[in-house]
């Protein structure tokens, strides 16, 4: 069966190979974030989890690619490419789990959302409208990356699309909900970060001693729900 989306292999290092699902390599044709491409990424990750390839150590999904790390003493990139080629031919047969629907309560503004005001000003909106627009949509978890449990969610309403902060913060508190360009996400742990912070969730996004370590998984659907400071405090204690 012909694939609807072009695939291309790119050697990334002597122990990793990138599978691209479009022409994202070329800067001129750099792909937009697309749900159809995401579906292919998700299928390949699923397939490699269900049928592990000996010598493959790890896979890292992105918006339009999957990076496959391998043991260079055990696998040659040409051989891996051949195996992955076989996987790509079977992609249509992969059954994906039903996406989960996850609600994330967020207390917007104030100390929890230090950039709410500036985002409103940059976009010529009231802060209330920014909150409404952010909480109105259902977002797709394109992939988890950067740090454990960080979900890249898309896409934002066009009215909210804002560049990253000119200089990243040295440390963003865990639970912070930020936006950057047409993406949104929740910081699971304290890290440096350049996304504009609109609010904070009291939920634990990533907990290694929990059965489901990560609150979110690739393919999940997410909605943000605006909550009061009192509700935040109550949920935080729970």
């Amino acid at each position: 069966m012909p694939l609807p989306i072009r695939t291309r292999f790119q050697v990334a290092s002597d122990q990793s190979l990138l599978v691209y699902f479009d022409s994202s390599h070329s800067r001129e044709q750099q792909s937009q974030i697309s749900k159809a491409v995401h579906e292919q990424v998700r299928r390949l990750v699923r397939l490699l989890e269900a049928e592990p390839v000996p010598g493959v150590r790890n896979v890292h999904p992105g918006y339009a690619s999957v990076l496959v790390n391998f043991d260079a003493l055990q696998l040659r990139p040409e051989k891996l490419q051949e195996i992955l080629g076989g996987c790509l031919e079977r992609m249509e047969k992969v059954t994906l789990p039903e996406p989960r629907e996850v609600e994330i309560p967020v207390c917007y503004g104030g100390e929890y959302g230090p950039d709410l005001q500036s985002v409103a000003e940059l976009r010529g909106l009231t802060t209330q409208r920014v909150i409404e627009l952010h909480a109105a949509r259902e977002y797709l978890v394109y992939f988890l990356g950067f740090v454990p449990g960080f979900a890249y969610l898309g896409e934002l309403a066009s009215e909210l699309v804002t560049p990253r902060l000119p200089a990243p913060r040295k440390s963003v508190p865990p639970g912070s909900v930020g936006i950057a360009k047409n993406q949104t996400g929740v910081y699971p742990v304290a890290t440096p970060g350049g996304w504009r912070l609109l609010g904070r969730t009291p939920l634990k996004i990533f907990q290694p001693d929990r059965k489901e370590m990560s609150l979110l998984a690739i393919g999940d659907r997410v909605r943000f729900v605006s909550i009061s400071r009192e509700k935040f405090a109550k949920l935080e204690r729970a």
Binding site: A12, S16, R27, Q30, L67, A72, G145, I218
Partner: protein, 316 residues
């Protein structure tokens, strides 16, 4: 179970093994020893499997008390250690009598030294590994660096009631595994985004390791790569040793506790055989990059592995 008491933690001491694999889809990078060659040899000296958990010390080592004694080995950069008052050289195993204290000093050359104990450090494994991932607070000792007063458990050795036999490393083999300052790289996935002028700067200049370097990444200072519009792309998976060129035109080498995805273009990637050398870089070290072909990179890794697994490596 034998114990080990932390009397002084040193500058940054963490529990490390060879890292955790397979959790990329959750955004978890491998972590593991910054100089895996040193940890593997240290473990062989201490009589362990080469992937056993040891302590990774950074620039300044700690002081460790052994109420029950044991067998230890130091590997990596020379931190001028003393067992009670007697100097203990790296790359050699030593019997520790109950009640003795190991004081590990500071290094003058590299960056990291591993303390391996017979049996290995025993901590709760997180996602299959004992490695500490500092940024996310995962693994090791409560996901953090060691503190004064911590007490570590030492697992039972593979063989009990064995006479202590001092082990050392063959100097000639060690010479072949020596950390390098001329890092060999292969092309990165976006090498062709960079114009010849930028590549000349990258391969022709010396870069200095900055103070902001850590287990996540080694930030370099030097001549910025010009003649290239370094932009941002949509995020994709990034490999260990990837050399990203940031908006300012300066390189960052992604290291063991790396972010798993990123949006900066990668001009090159440090070869697997030279990753342990990155683990011995210290602030103000000067490094250069040398481009090699993929088949050469694999041949170098195979050669390194041959020496690491060779019988001649460990002398009894």
């Amino acid at each position: 179970m034998k114990l080990m008491e932390v009397r002084a933690p040193g500058l940054l001491t963490t529990v490390q093994d060879l890292g955790r694999e397979g959790f990329g889809p959750l955004g978890v990078s491998a972590s593991g020893a910054a100089d895996s060659v040193a940890l593997r040899i240290g473990n062989r000296l201490a009589g362990n499997d080469e992937g056993a958990a040891g302590l990774e010390m950074t620039l300044l080592g700690g002081t460790f008390h052994f109420p029950d004694g044991g067998v230890v080995a130091l590997a990596g950069s020379d931190f001028f250690a003393k067992l009670d008052e007697v100097p203990l050289a790296p790359w050699t195993s030593a019997a520790v009598k109950p009640g003795q204290t190991l004081t590990v000093g500071a290094t003058k050359t590299g960056a990291r030294c591993y303390l391996c104990v017979e049996g290995g450090i025993e901590v709760q494994r997180v996602m299959g590994s004992a490695s500490t991932h500092l940024l996310s607070g995962l693994g090791g000792m409560e996901g953090r660096a060691l503190r004064k007063g911590d007490v570590l458990n030492v697992a039972a050795p593979r063989q009990t009631f064995r006479m202590f036999r001092k082990r050392t490393v063959d100097g000639r083999v060690l010479e072949k595994l020596k950390p390098r300052k001329l890092l060999r790289v292969t092309d990165g996935p976006q090498s062709d985004w960079f114009r010849e002028e930028a590549k000349r700067v990258f391969y022709g200049n010396t870069f200095r390791v900055t103070e902001e370097s850590n287990r996540m990444g080694v930030r370099l200072d030097g001549a910025p790569l010009t003649g290239t519009e370094t932009g941002e792309m949509i995020s994709e998976g990034v490999s260990l040793g990837a050399v990203q060129i940031t908006a300012g035109g300066l390189p960052i080498i992604l290291f063991v506790e790396q972010q798993t995805t990123g949006g900066y273009p990668k001009i090159a990637n440090v070869i697997a055989a030279d990753m342990h050398s990155v683990g011995q870089l210290r602030p103000r070290d000067e490094i250069r990059f040398e481009r090699v072909e993929m088949h050469a990179a694999v041949a170098l890794l195979e050669e390194q592995e041959k020496w690491l697994c060779s019988k001649e490596l460990i002398l009894e």
